[in-house]
Amino acid sequence: METLDLRGEKCPDTFVYTKIKAEEMGYSGGGKLKVIVDYPPAVESIPRSLAEEGRGYKVLEVKHLGGRTYEIYIEVPAFED
């Protein structure tokens, strides 16, 4: 499992870094990705934006760690193209 710590980042940068990481993983066989954020709107917008990518990303779980901190678990498929 890969981890991306985005504490301190806001939208749209939270998605910028998530997308870059997810694509890097997708092009090299896929895998599981944990994204840590402390910007609550990102908890909704990252999964929504990932879904709109149409790449087959799956959000497996969102964990609230307390306060403003959340972990988003994402399954990144292996890209075919």
């Binding site: 806001k10 939208c11 749209p12 940068d13 939270t14 998605f15 910028v16 997308k19 709107p41 990102a42 917008s45 990252i46 929504r48 934006s49 709109e52 990518e53």
Partner: protein
């Protein structure tokens, strides 16, 4: 017109329908550009190049590295510096025959009516609904022509508003989109060339209007889609129920609905 001006503007002075009278009208004009971001850069650049005599650029923001895919008036060493001042400085160098002023002021519904008074035109380069509605209402109440534009992802829109004559922004969009339609992060994406197209369209309309020529986006909404390179002109009409330009003006500030924090304005 001095010799420098004749040479500088020679390629537009020989245009059909455009001559020394039209150029003199541009020189006499005082224009407000709201925003020095993605739209503000092409808007203010083309107004400068055309010879609009006095340009006031409103922006309270500072340059960020993520602006540089579209905001071509700034360089990496400008990061952290105020956009309005920088833009005015650069444009003043590009055309020393005109006056460009940068105004570091955040436009709100409360101050827009006062700030946007006494102009011959306003060209809107704001990126959020709160300011966009404030600029529209101020333009309508102050009877200043407004050249609206907006862009998101691969799409853009533009319309020209002549108060008392054409539909205003609020006639077409009485309310901002509901909070449920808040753009996702993905929708905060924007391609520099798309804001370039939209800003150039707004500037073209403003320049022709100020020169006294006919313009094509009165009571028309232009929708530009760069995915398929589709340009579509939609007929729009004034609404008698419009709270800005209808029978009676009603002040209606709009809350910002977008969660995207990186702004152009």
């Amino acid at each position: 017109m001095n010799l420098n001006e004749i040479k500088r503007y020679s390629r537009q002075l020989i245009l059909p329908d455009f001559g020394t009278r039209e150029q003199a009208r541009l020189k006499k004009a005082k224009v407000a550009v709201t925003g020095a971001g993605g739209l503000g850069c092409p808007i203010s650049t083309y107004l400068t190049l055309a010879g609009v005599g006095e340009i006031h650029i409103f922006d309270f923001d500072r340059v960020e590295l993520s602006n540089l895919n579209r905001q071509f008036l700034y360089t990496p060493s400008d990061v952290g510096k105020p956009k309005a001042k920088l833009a005015a400085e650069r444009l003043g160098e590009i055309n020393p025959e005109i006056r460009v002023e940068g105004i570091e002021e955040r436009i709100t519904y409360d101050n827009a009516f006062e700030l946007l008074k006494g102009y011959d035109a306003i060209v809107d380069g704001t990126d959020n609904f709160a300011v966009r509605y404030a600029v529209n209402d101020a333009a309508v109440v102050n009877r200043v022509p407004l050249f609206h534009g907006a862009a998101l992802m691969y799409e853009g829109r533009a319309m020209s508003i002549i108060p008392g004559e054409t539909a205003c922004f609020r006639c077409v969009f009485p309310e901002p989109p509901p909070a449920g339609m808040i753009p996702t992060c993905r929708e905060a994406g924007i391609l520099g060339s798309v804001v370039g197209i939209v800003g150039a369209i707004q500037a073209s309309e403003a320049i022709r209007y100020l020169a006294g020529l006919e313009i094509g986006l009165k009571n028309r909404l232009l929708i530009v889609n760069v995915d398929e390179m589709r340009f579509e002109k939609v007929r729009i009409a004034r609404s008698s129920e419009c709270t800005a330009c209808g029978e009676k003006f009603v002040p209606r500030p709009v809350e910002e609905v977008c969660v995207v924090e990186e702004g152009d304005e």
